[in-house]
């Protein structure tokens, strides 16, 4: 029963992540790729994502500091980030990335800075939530995505 409680929690958390737009259908695709052969695929990919994206965020931070006028560079970095965020279905982060790039296009450095803060924030929030989610999943054991059914 504790188990099913956890399951329910996991399901709920998952659902809320989707409902609140933290995740989109691309995340579904990731989950589809998970199977007996790759039982922790989603978590692995997400971990990989956060490792990579943290590095990218650092790069952007530095670029904003040292060469804020190099919009092309900023855009390139952000484009990279956008690619991976969209790959894991990190909808909100992706959205902020897009806004950032728009500011880059307009060469609006202030806009970029502000927007970047948002990117970082969304990134951090998502990380927290997903960590909580995976933790729950681990506790519930390698079950099928029963949570999906509840969606």
């Amino acid at each position: 029963m504790d188990y099913s409680n956890l399951q329910r929690k996991a399901a709920y958390l998952r659902k809320s992540l989707f409902d609140q737009g933290y995740l989109d259908e691309q995340f579904d695709q990731l989950e589809e790729l998970q199977d007996e052969v790759n039982p922790n695929f989603v978590e692995e990919v997400v971990t990989l994502f956060f490792k990579d994206s943290s590095r990218l965020l650092n790069n952007i931070d530095q670029a904003l500091e040292k060469s804020p006028n190099d919009f092309r560079k900023l855009d390139t970095y952000m484009h990279q980030l956008q690619g991976s965020t969209s790959s894991i279905g990190a909808f909100r982060v992706k959205r902020e990335c897009t806004l950032f790039r728009e500011y880059c296009d307009k060469e609006n450095i202030e806009g970029c800075v502000k927007s970047f803060q948002k990117v970082k924030r969304e990134h951090a929030v998502l990380r927290q939530k997903l960590e909580a989610y995976f933790q729950l999943l681990r506790q519930t054991g390698p079950v099928e995505r029963a949570t999906r059914a509840s969606n």
């Binding site: 990731l30 790729l33 695929f41 690619g83 991976s84 790959s87």
Partner: protein, 669 residues
């Protein structure tokens, strides 16, 4: 997708299994995800995160891969460069991937030879069908070799031509062979398909060394004078046949033009005019790959793809199907609507390989000139070939749906075309049955910028191209076309317009879309035709008569039916980009005709047409004049048009199929 590994379904189910894929992406997350998706599809996956590494892997293992997936933006090498390298050296189909869905980028992919362009995030659906590109490419090459090859292959050639006409035989046949081979054999041996294509010649792998020899020979002869026969002699390699050299030469020429595109405007001209004869046979026409890339870059509609048919060679020597993704440079086309469907130009039942050739020619022309159509400029390239060339187009491009990937090649015969999910691209396959002049009508469509390469090419080659670009307009009742005269030489406009106005030919000719390529000398005619096309379009718009707009253009009729009044003549901006550089981008051309042809199977001129046409002529004329003065393409996409188009947009009705959830529509021709 959850395809079960070797579920034991028929040979068909096992068929793509074992496809050897190389994925290149500097983004580790994406790489991982794509890798797993591909594995789910039962493909053999190799990954790497650097382009140079990818090249190394490929070089070391020449025949070890069937297809390559590459990211566009990579730190060490531009994805497009990698694409070209692979095309030249290994001749493998390459699919580009990127989160960037800008038309110009996608078009770039096409022009550089990508067979498809997937938008990130990549979905399983998109990856599921990448094997089709492999098959298509091989078929094309096979045909290409045969066509440009010796006469003793005449029966084979005929066979292909027949196939082209009948449509499905060739592919079906190949498939059957493939399936037969598959059965009872190792399920994972994807290479079997090579055997299946029994008509295919032995593929030559162009190693770096070999390529160097080739380049040396070409340089020695002089690029313009380099003919396969002489190159072959100079290279003195017994393993090579003239056909191998010919096809490689085509690619190489294309590659060169692409690299130095912007400066090649005049060149294309001379290339064309001088090669009017040889051009059709050994001109550096678009490679199949290039075409494919083109097609791929844009969103090809299934029909378009069909029209283009990856067998450009098969149809005509060195004629690559004209694939014009709607991505045209300088924002020729405004991004109207992601769901806009490009004109579907589908090859009519009797797809004429010649038509494909035409398309190819056009494409080539465009490539060479690298004209650019200014943003939003859309032009309808219409060629009234029938009269002169007595060729009819049966092939057309259909841009359908929108999806992240597109099928680069159109195969008039049973080919599966995945429609881009969000964008529609039109590809037009034009075949020119007769050499010499023919009008090219390329319908460029969609919300991609249309590179005025086409237009430019045409112009510089003395061909007047009328580009009818339709942003997201779908022929056959789809959104109205936006017509722009692109690259129309000022002088061309005038009378040409009227001369053919009355000519039912223009309309009738096309089987709904005849693409005639007009080459130098046909300027007037081309213009006329273009004008006519435009007129027709104009008539539709300006007259606000959504009826019988253009005889040929069924699309117009459809359009009429849709009562899209928003297409206004004044919204069309004729633009002439005679000296703009388009680079290697192709303008997406809407080929409305084909679609209509497809639908109705005939390009009969509607009654009202002549009348309309006449009336329109004037308007067109004046419009043209204005356009001439402007020398600039300013196409303002009519959002409303597209809105209307959307209403009328019905993939299913066009193709009779339901797009899948990703907006892919698969067509089995």
């Amino acid at each position: 997708m959850s395809s079960q590994p070797s579920a034991g379904g028929g040979p068909h189910a096992r068929f793509p299994a074992g496809l050897r894929v190389l994925v290149v992406d500097d983004d580790a997350t994406c790489l991982r995800i794509v890798e797993h998706m591909l594995k789910r599809c039962d493909y053999c996956v190799t990954t790497c995160s650097r382009a140079v590494e990818a090249l190394r892997i490929l070089r070391e293992n020449k025949r070890g891969f069937d297809i390559v997936l590459s990211d566009v933006y990579m730190p060490d090498m531009d994805g497009f460069k990698l694409l070209e390298h692979i095309g030249l050296e290994m001749d493998l189909p390459v699919i580009m991937m990127s989160a960037d869905d800008g038309k110009d980028v996608v078009l770039k992919g096409v022009t550089h030879g990508a067979v498809d362009y997937l938008l990130k995030p990549v979905s399983m659906e998109a990856l599921k069908n990448i094997w089709q590109h492999v098959i298509r490419k091989r078929r094309n090459e096979s045909k290409e070799l045969e066509n440009s090859g010796s006469l003793d292959d005449s029966d084979k050639q005929k066979k292909y031509s027949d196939n082209g006409d009948s449509g499905s035989l060739g592919i079906e046949e190949n498939w059957k062979v493939v399936k037969r081979k598959k059965e009872g054999e190792e399920e994972d041996e994807f290479e079997e398909r090579e055997d299946a294509s029994s008509l295919k010649k032995q593929r030559v792998v162009w190693s770096v060394d070999l390529h160097q020899q080739f380049v040396a020979a070409v340089n020695q002869l002089g690029l313009e004078k380099a003919v396969p026969k002489k190159i072959l002699e100079l290279m003195n390699n017994p393993a090579l046949t003239r056909e191998n050299v010919a096809s490689h030469l085509q690619k190489y020429r294309l590659y060169l033009k692409r690299v130095s595109g912007p400066q090649h405007q005049g060149r294309a001209d001379s290339a064309f005019s001088s090669a009017s004869d040889s051009s059709f046979s050994s001109v550096p026409s678009l490679d199949v790959v290039d075409l494919q890339a083109l097609a791929a870059s844009g969103q090809l509609t299934p029909l378009a793809i069909m029209a283009l048919n990856s067998g450009p060679r098969s149809f005509f020597n060195s004629n690559a199907p004209f694939v014009n993704s709607s991505k045209m440079q300088p924002a020729m086309m405004h991004r109207v609507n992601n769901n806009q469907m490009g004109l579907l130009y589908g090859p009519s039942a009797s797809m004429d390989s010649r038509q494909m050739v035409q398309a190819q020619q056009i494409y080539r022309a465009y490539q060479n000139t690298g004209h650019q159509v200014s943003e939003g400029a859309q032009g309808l390239l219409k060629l009234p070939s029938p009269e002169r060339t007595s060729s009819s187009f049966s092939s057309g491009l259909i841009s359908a749906g929108s999806s992240n990937s597109f099928v680069a090649q159109m195969n008039p015969q049973r080919q599966q075309i995945s429609l881009p999910q969000h964008q529609e691209q039109m590809q037009i396959g034009v075949q020119q049955p007769s050499r010499g002049q023919f009008l090219n009508r390329v319908v460029v469509e969609h919300d991609s910028k249309i590179s005025s390469t086409l237009g430019q090419q045409m112009v510089s080659n003395g061909v007047s191209n009328n580009f009818l670009v339709r942003s997201g307009a779908i022929i056959n009742g789809r959104p109205p076309l936006q017509v722009n005269y692109m690259n129309m030489p000022p002088y061309a406009v005038p009378r040409a317009l009227y001369s053919n106005v009355q000519n039912p030919h223009v309309s009738g000719t096309v089987n709904s879309s005849v693409i005639a390529n007009t080459f130098t000398g046909m300027k007037q005619e081309a213009i006329t035709i273009a004008q006519r096309g435009v007129e027709q379009i104009d008539s539709i718009n300006s007259l606000k008569e959504v009826k019988d707009i253009v005889p040929n253009y069924d699309m117009f009729s459809d359009f009429n039916q849709s009562k899209n009044q928003e297409w206004k003549l004044q919204n069309l901006n004729l633009s002439y980009e005679s000296s703009k550089q388009v680079g290697t981008q192709l303008s997406s051309i809407d080929y409305g005709f084909s679609i209509s042809a497809q639908r109705d199977g005939n390009g009969i001129m509607k009654e009202g047409v002549p009348r309309n046409t006449c009336a329109m002529t004037k308007e067109v004329y004046s419009m043209t004049q204005t356009a001439i003065e402007h020398e600039k393409v300013e196409f303002v996409p009519q959002e409303s048009l597209f809105a209307a188009a959307d209403d009328n947009y019905d993939l299913e009705s066009i193709f009779g199929r339901q797009p899948d959830t990703n907006g892919h529509v698969e067509f089995n021709f």
